[in-house]
Amino acid sequence: MTKILELKGITVKFPGVVALNKLDMDIHEGEVHVLIGENGAGKSSLIKVLCGIYFPDEGSMLIQGKPYMPQAPIDAINAGIRVVHQEFNLLPYLSIAENIFFEKLPRKSGFVDFKKLYSDTDKLLKMVGLNASARTKVEMLGVAQMQLVEIAKALSTDSKILLLDEPTATLTDKDIELLFATIRRLKKSGITIIYISHRLKELFEIGDRITVLKNGEKVGDRLITEVDIPGLVQMMVGKSMHEEFQFRDNVKLGEEVLRVENLKRRESKYYNSFSVKAGEIVGIAGLVGSGRTENMRAIFGADRKESGEIYLHGEKIKIKSPQDAVKQGISLITEDRKSQGLVLDMPCSLNMTLTDPKKISTRGFINRQQERDVAEKLVKDLEVKTPSINQLVRNFSGGNQQKVVIAKWLFCGGKVFIFDEPTRGIDVGAKYEIYNLMWELAESGKGLVMISSDMPELLGLCHRILVFSDGEIVGEVQRKDFDQEKILHLAFKNYVEDKQ
């Protein structure tokens, strides 16, 4: 086997984070090379390095023995590397042919050469096994067919290496078979494929070799015939983490605050139930896209739920909109603070009082003095670093912005706080301050839920952890049984089993 792509000591650093650490990797010509790892293991960074979006801080790459160091996506395309992203990048109202050759339409004396365009497209469609006319508008296609168009588009530039990022995430079992048939056909014609997926089971069907990443480092590479699922999970978890959090067990758990029964969303077939006690922090683990965020949003009324009951302090409540949820005392600290949590171009004080402006007003008029007092107290309590409460939140750092979001929910005085990735993109110092805030909330008898992709954070902070897998709560792990490997096993559960 000849090596088509070699990575030597690739390192990518961001302020405070090493995304890839001295990564060595070999890809053989004509193989399907599988790449797996937990959330944040470095898969996305690796893709971005390969297709010229990130420039590595250290290391070198070789393509067929020649040095390769893309400065921009176009360099990657010229070198024969193309990515098929999880999210499609197609123009729905144009034909298949126009989509495939969008960047480089064949021309004849200034006009588009449609004859050549369609015949070239037909050749590519045959290659990927898509049975459709080149003239068909993309909006008429199903998801699986669109994916094949994406692959055809990637092949249109004489690609040698194809990166498929989570190609089966949105496909049904039947479509997956279709995709695999295409992959096998491409393999036969000499194209090398790098395949990234969460779905462990299918890797054994399609992969030749596998590389496992963890914390930006390679844990190992094996032939697919040498490994099994438990072995892979073990590799992804690696050695046990040292305990860096001091769990506080001085909190007496009180009565049940929130109970969710048989919550079902339209997009999922599963019914989920769970409850939270006063003073408790319930962690929610699971892969990105496993329904963690979606279920919490449905509870909060931000998205529709199909059915399910919500009880607060044992009393059944109706939540049809965030308005209802806030009125009942449920707070949701959203995943994306910039687009969902804050009004960026408005002052800190306004954001902090946004959940209940009536509290700082009399007969509809805002009481500026009261507002200032409230905001200044919150700034002091939460140690928000700002010269003035009139500062626009846009100018704040990530950690301080997150504190403003938490402040606005403290201001309206909820009973249940749902945190969705509260420490994502925040520096270490601010992280610990936010953990402390969460502890204080728990100590004051609130019920807390925390979604996180950061496993050490969940293990360090929570009383118990619920694990989501493909939209279902597949397990609940108590603190005394905390074990990263066990949780990860659960997280992969519904992706591993046959979905009959």
Partner: protein
């Protein structure tokens, strides 16, 4: 530090005021009649109606919407209220009060329609109000059978002709409108919500507010202000006509934009809108006195609108730069 603050304030708040002042000084020097009391009264009369419509429009634009139907709705309001005003069965005072109420209600209902349809079905207000532009005009023509109403009660006409030290009564109405609107926008929870939603709709929704309520309310306010503007139109011209108000939407939008309100919402003020309307009025009047014809004036007004928006982007950049120093 202090100088920086002053420059910043000038750029941010008073930029349009300075432009207005420059226009006035220019026309005072260039013509002999511009700076006279009678011309002053004239200008104030001319800008009053646009000021009120543009004020209503500002609420809608602050939420990232637009209302193209204001001109047609104004015609409908004048017809509905003119119909009552010319009824002989009412005493003149009854007729006046009823006609004012009718105008406000007609405008409000049109606004309610615009607001409810655009939020309920998530259709861009550009389309919905384009529909309303035709609906209201058609309704006005249908109700009036394309006739113009006049012969309003004497007390109504006399009131419209009142001036206080050269300030016409309809201008006083317009200024009151701006002041009340400013108080609402700056000092109430409602106003704060308008700005916050204009900036980030989703964040406000997820903070537990019914954002649709505010969007509909903004359209109803806009409709109500057209109702007021329709009465002012009748006070000024003593007629109500189904073909009145053609093109008013463009003047109103121009005033809002020149006044520094962002078309994508969340930023702007009624004071700016008032100054915007004043600049348009002063230009129209001054250019006429300088001796330019209708067509040339239209070209210049158009150029000024574009120039104002270009200057606005520079102004923002500059004030941001100053802020970061």
């Amino acid at each position: 530090m202090n100088i920086k603050k002053i420059v910043h304030l000038l750029l941010q708040e008073a930029g349009i005021g300075v432009a207005l002042l420059v226009c006035c000084i220019f026309f005072t020097c260039a013509t002999e009649h511009f700076a006279s009391m009678s011309n002053f009264t004239n200008i104030l009369t001319q800008i009053s109606i646009n000021t009120v419509i543009a004020a209503g429009m500002t609420f809608v634009i602050l939420l990232g919407g637009i209302d193209l139907s204001v001109g047609s709705v104004l015609a409908l309001c004048t017809i509905v209220s003119g119909l009552i005003l010319t009824r002989e069965s009412f005493s003149s005072w009854q007729a006046i009060i009823l006609s004012i109420l009718a105008s406000l209600v007609a405008g409000g209902i049109c606004g309610l329609f615009n607001g409810v349809v655009s939020t309920k079905w998530k259709i861009h207000s550009f389309i919905v109000t384009l529909g309303m532009l035709n609906i209201a005009r058609g309704a006005a023509l249908l109700i009036s059978d394309s006739r113009t109403y006049f012969n309003f009660p004497d007390s109504f006409i006399d009131f419209g002709a009142l001036t206080f030290v050269g300030i016409p009564v309809i201008f006083i109405i317009a200024i009151l409108f701006i002041i009340i609107g400013t108080i609402i926008l700056k000092y109430t929870v409602f106003g704060r919500m308008i700005y916050a939603i204009g900036n980030n709709d989703e964040a406000v929704r997820l903070s537990g507010h019914n954002t649709n309520f505010y969007k509909v309310a903004a359209f109803v306010i806009c409709g109500g202000s057209i109702g007021v503007a329709a009465i002012m139109y009748m006070l000024r011209l003593s007629i109500s006509s189904p073909i009145s108000g053609v093109g008013f939407e463009l003047n109103a939008i121009a005033a809002v934009v020149i006044g520094g309100t962002s078309m994508s919402g969340g930023k702007g003020s009624l004071l700016g809108t008032f100054l915007g309307a004043a600049i348009i009025g002063v230009l129209n009047n001054g250019l006429l006195l300088v001796g330019l014809g209708d067509f040339a004036r239209q070209i210049i007004t158009g150029l000024i609108i574009v120039l104002a928006v270009i200057l606005d982007t520079y102004r923002n950049k500059l004030s941001k730069k100053l802020e970061s120093i």
